[in-house]
Symmetry: C2
Amino acid sequence: MLSQMEHAMETMMFMFHKFAGDKGYLPKENLRVLMEKQFPGYLENQKDSLAVDKIMKNLDLDQSFFSLIAGLTIACNEYFVVYMKQKRKK
Amino acid sequence: MLSQMEHAMETMMFMFHKFAGDKGYLPKENLRVLMEKQFPGYLENQKDSLAVDKIMKNLDLDQSFFSLIAGLTIACNEYFVVYMKQKRKK
């Protein structure tokens, strides 16, 4: 049986291959579809219509996809930490 | 309702804070406990008894934890891709 962390990593890999298909990497359009399906709030709340293009600039082939997710998780975590600190002060 | 990717990211953050506690970062001993609990096969199969120390060398405070997980996922994914290619050949 997988641990929670192993299960989370498996989900990331599964999603990557689901949207990459046989290509083995995520072209811009596939990344856009992945973002729309898996992070529906992210693109909706983006004021910058070129958000996906800008992400793609820093995203090379398959390996970087997982780094992108790490970056998103870091950003969410920073937000979460600030939120929790503010909550404790109240 | 969270998507599968959002849920996976939430798990990563939850685990980080569970093992980091109030510190807000993962000291070596906490990382060791996390690895033992969440990746039981990893340390068991390590021939290098200093594996955790070597990981720690490249791991600075909280942000890098998520990069470490990204690195582990990339390694697992590479293994998975090779495995699937071999399976298709058979």
